[in-house]
């Protein structure tokens, strides 16, 4: 397990040829205010009542700070230093994003995942107002202006009936490619209170992306709150493990067999081991969950996908190919996380020996199959 930085055998540039790619995790952000604040770009989509609310009380999440995230990021807004268009927020300017990322990296399809959209805001009606505004903003500023980009339906997911209505309203709308949830919700996402969201997503034929982060209020570890941003970042994987376990063991995939879940920004190298562990426990405790008709790993194999970024980087790199093979090459979807600091460059991330078919699948075709990109 020693890190051997000099041994680069087996490492080769992945996508030098700049084949068209799908980027399944791009973060647009309204200009101006950050977390806790509301950008003026969203004002046109807010009623007078909610405009007054955000101007007097703001947005309160289950975390301490009026402005900013619970753990200070490694750098401002957790973004690349070179991704600030004229000093405004990274991800706030389509022309800049196209010039820096979409064009040079030959992004054929990009899934937009806004992160400061009011999801998880404590006031459920405010959450509904802000997520609605964010949906309108995505169409007005992004997808209607660049057809490569597809929006996520943002919802007040803690109020599932309202969320379901908002999903229903976007059914059949070609601007939207998925429903987006966050990992850290008030309760594990497999629980019944969230089922109307899955019903609506299935009815609208939209996959459900579950992105790292969120403000559920539970301690970030089962042993309490850690001290460091490093721990939060590494911990996204363990949070996603808990979410996946919850979805499977609650029987969500039995109830919604056509539901597609995409786990976003928490890596995938943990997934095979997690499936082995789930299967072992299921063997012993299946009487506790008789509603499961298949082994946990089978649901993972048929209903769950993983985005690549931040891709794990073992030494030697070939071990990553094992980790992919153990969950299935059709399960991984390439993502850059643009404009964040831990951006994965499609030309250099995943320096693996891949067959042409594996490469095309991972960078483009798998996403096409999941999202139905034409």
């Amino acid at each position: 397990m020693n890190v051997d930085v000099l041994n680069r055998t087996g490492i080769q540039t992945t996508n030098q040829s700049k084949l068209a790619i799908a980027d399944c995790d791009i973060h647009p952000r309204p200009p101006g205010a950050g977390i806790g604040g509301v950008s003026k770009a969203l004002y046109p989509y807010l009623s007078k009542r909610w405009l007054e609310h955000v101007q007097t009380i703001g947005v309160r999440y289950r975390q301490p700070w009026e402005r900013g995230s619970a753990y200070p990021k490694g750098q401002p807004q957790a973004c690349r230093r070179d991704a600030w268009p004229n000093g405004d927020n990274p991800g706030s300017d389509l022309a800049f994003m196209a010039e820096q990322h979409l064009d040079p990296n030959n992004v054929a399809f990009g899934v937009l995942n806004p992160l400061t959209s009011g999801q998880g805001a404590q006031d459920p009606e405010l959450s509904a107002a802000l997520t609605h505004a964010t949906n309108e903003w995505q169409v007005a500023e992004w997808t209607s202006r660049d057809t490569r980009l597809k929006a996520s339906v943002m919802t007040p997911f803690e109020d599932a009936p309202t969320a379901a209505k908002m999903i229903e309203a976007r059914a059949g709308d070609p601007n939207f490619a998925q429903v987006l949830l966050l990992t850290r919700t008030a309760e594990p996402l497999g629980q019944r209170r969230y089922w109307p969201i899955y019903q609506a997503a299935v009815d609208a034929n939209l996959p459900v992306g579950i992105h790292a982060f969120g403000y559920g209020g539970s301690a970030l570890t089962t042993g309490g709150w850690p001290s460091f941003y490093l721990e939060e970042m590494v911990g996204h994987a363990q949070c996603q493990q808990a979410v996946l376990t919850s979805l499977i063991f609650e029987g969500v995939f039995e109830r919604y067999p056509t539901l597609k879940i995409v786990l976003v920004e928490a890596g995938f190298a943990w997934a095979a081991s997690h499936a082995w562990r789930m299967d072992r426990q299921f063997t012993k405790l299946h009487k506790e969950v008789p509603h499961l008709k298949r082994r946990p790993s089978e649901y993972m194999r048929s209903n769950v996908w993983f985005t690549t970024q931040p891709v794990e980087e073992p030494e030697p790199r070939e071990h990553l190919a094992d980790a992919i093979e153990w969950i299935g090459w059709d399960r991984v979807l390439f993502a850059t996380d643009y404009p964040h600091w831990d951006f994965d460059d499609p030309a250099h991330a995943l320096p693996l020996k891949m067959t042409e078919a594996q490469k095309r699948g991972l960078f483009l075709e798998n996403a096409r199959a999941v999202y139905g990109f034409a």
């Binding site: 570890t221 089962t222 850690p226 490093l230 911990g235 994987a237 949070c239 190298a269 943990w270 426990q281």
Partner: protein
């Protein structure tokens, strides 16, 4: 002939009554007057198939209630010559620190009299009131002169992440006395049993124990415990093995990106683990095909990390198949003999 060492077995406290002789007057009276119930936590429901293999239960359905039974079930069939008992009675979960301390004292004395005195093959971990580091240190110091106590036992999920400085007196005492710190599956239930809220099912809770170990290992790393206590070993018990490589790839990536936040972590996480962290074998949580296990073991990158365990009486395997098929026999030998002896300094004292 070097000894086979089983590093994780669980004697069952048959009832609170069994501990009464080991409580002082005040606490004995408290138990009776206040009608204290058993301190068995919800982690291992008594009749759950996970809690005990069917063939390891006695006539009343209880497993591992005597040293004799443990020897017959778990030592003789595996050729085990040394076995480390980790008592999981829930003393760490009492909200009163004083009650926790009294119960920990009783458990340790009960273990010494009813188990260690009765079978010379047995060793034990020191159960401590994890609620309060000061009281935990006192218990470690009280038990440590008995060289049959070979480790300090903590539950993976307590009130604070294990790396936090409030826990450091425990690590200082363990290091000073030459005792590894064994971290075991289990919780004091101060926080939801998953990092995204309370789960509905026992299955989920147990599966998420592996995630708990991952986050607590991150905590020990990030807080600088390995740098502060350079001679301390941590043993991760009963929560899977196969999560380790993929976890370390991710941790290493973020350590590279965010080192400025934790400048005291000077070495790559994987090399810290190789030097300072061990894992017990069961449950291994391996792939179903032996060939994949062989391939997976390359990802582990070291043959020194694993310590043999049956996790008796918990049900992790059938018969005597404690070594996963697909493990190289030479590696199995290291796991059963050399690695435990190299981890627990006190075992050598009685085997040489």
């Amino acid at each position: 002939m070097p000894p086979v060492v089983d590093c994780d077995l669980h004697p069952t406290v048959p009832s609170l009554a069994a501990l009464m002789p080991y409580l002082d007057d005040m606490w004995r009276e408290t138990v009776v007057r206040r009608g204290l119930d058993e301190l068995n936590t919800i982690a291992y429901p008594a009749n759950s198939p996970l809690t005990a293999r069917a063939d390891w239960r006695d006539d009343r359905g209880k497993p591992a209630t005597t040293a004799e039974r443990l020897g017959k079930d778990a030592l003789d069939p595996f050729g085990t010559q040394i076995a480390i008992c980790n008592c999981l009675y829930g003393v760490q979960a009492t909200f009163s620190e004083d009650l926790g301390a009294a119960m920990a004292r009783a458990v340790n004395d009960w273990i010494a009299r009813e188990w260690l005195d009765r079978d010379p093959r047995l060793r034990a971990s020191i159960v401590v009131p994890q609620q309060n580091a000061e009281l935990a240190v006192a218990e470690i110091e009280r038990c440590a002169p008995d060289r049959r106590f070979v480790q300090v036992l903590l539950l993976v999920s307590g009130e604070l992440p294990l790396g936090r400085r409030q826990n450091w007196p425990i690590y200082a005492a363990a290091e000073r006395l030459g005792l590894p710190v064994g971290i075991h599956a289990g919780s004091t239930y101060r926080h939801p049993n998953t990092p995204v809220g309370w789960s509905s099912y026992l299955s989920e809770e147990y599966i998420n124990q592996a995630g708990a170990f991952q986050t607590q290992l991150t905590s020990l790393m990030a807080e600088g415990v390995f740098a502060k206590f350079p001679n301390l070993t941590f043993v991760l018990m009963e929560s899977g093995v196969t999560w380790l490589p993929g976890y370390l790839w991710r941790l290493t990536k973020f350590w590279k990106g965010l080192r400025s936040e934790v400048p005291w972590v000077a070495d790559p996480p994987a090399s810290i683990v190789q030097d300072r962290v061990r894992l017990t074998l069961q449950p291994f949580d391996g792939p179903p095909e032996p060939a994949t296990i062989t391939r997976f073991m390359e990802h582990m990158g070291s043959d020194e990390l694993l310590l043999f365990s049956t996790d008796y009486p918990h049900w992790q395997f059938d018969g005597t198949d404690a070594i996963p098929a697909g493990l190289d026999p030479a590696l199995a030998q290291k796991i059963m003999v050399d690695n435990p002896l190299n981890t627990y300094a006190r075992l050598r004292e009685t085997t040489q």
